[in-house]
Symmetry: C2
Subunit: 170 residues, 2 copies
């Protein structure tokens, strides 16, 4: 993050990162499959939290509400580190390459969420559609939150975005 802050993402080579970390380029690639991956290291934890939230949602909750419960549970992760999240977001915003990866991660998350909904007895394609809808909601809420991390809290923004979605697909 230091290096990215100084020289930007593109301007920083893997060799630079490795050197700063006291490693070799080769070793870097043993920890991260990609240069991009270094910015997505916490994503498994996030994903796990979301999934747990989905599975723990009340049995009578609708698929979409179960997804919302999962996102709500995970929102806390970002709220603990608003400034780090903000810097990361600035990097993503400046790099199409990173945005692609971000989308891919969301897509993977969507897949896992759909699987979790499956365990709750939701069939396809409903599960996939509900999961995707959740990702949309997450993106909208997260964008607004990063615009102003100390304004409204992320969980409220999530609730608002969800309500908006429901009204738009009514």
């Amino acid at each position: 993050m230091e290096l990215f802050g100084e020289r930007g993402y593109e301007g920083t080579t893997v060799a630079d990162i490795a050197e700063r970390a006291g490693l070799t380029k080769r070793t870097f690639f043993r920890y991260f499959s990609d240069k991009r991956e270094v910015l997505f290291s916490g994503s498994e934890i996030f994903e796990g939290t979301v999934i747990k939230g989905v599975l723990d949602a009340p049995a009578k909750a609708s698929p979409l509400d179960a997804v919302a419960a999962g996102l709500d549970a995970a929102a806390a992760i970002f709220e603990q580190i608003p400034d780090r999240a903000g810097k990361r977001q600035a990097l993503l915003d400046a790099n199409p390459e990173l945005q692609e990866r971000e989308r891919a991660k969301l897509a993977s998350l969507s897949g896992s969420v759909a699987a979790a909904l499956g365990e709750r007895g939701v069939a396809e394609p409903a599960a996939g559609l509900a999961a995707d809808a959740g990702m949309s909601v997450l993106r909208v809420a997260f964008d607004r939150w990063t615009d102003d991390p100390h304004g409204q809290d992320l969980r409220k923004l999530l609730r608002d975005a969800l309500a908006e979605l429901k009204s738009v697909t009514a």
Copy 2:
């Protein structure tokens, strides 16, 4: 496509492609910014068709229905070349790199659709959410269609997926 069919996407180098086309690697990169891009060359036409469909939808159509109209208009493009679409899909399915790009294209399309909805008087975040929802519907329908390109027609699959989405977010 010949080369990709023989050696797969990864197994084919840009130099290979260029040679087969009677060009140089350097010239290839003047036509395509990326190796990936070569598989997404028609996407502007597709995007244009969708946008036109959205803008031409009846004024009283809901945002989501306007998006659906756009997708419906563009479905014809794929239905004209089902086998080419199928081969392309097989390549995408086998390559995370290409899936990332595909997602990025869909995201870009979503952005344009949201803008088109904006021209129709739909405000944010409703426009963005409706556009994203449309992308979900498109993916579901398209997946089913590529599973069996000569089964149900793509437009019917789109209608079905849309109905499913509406019921899931009800």
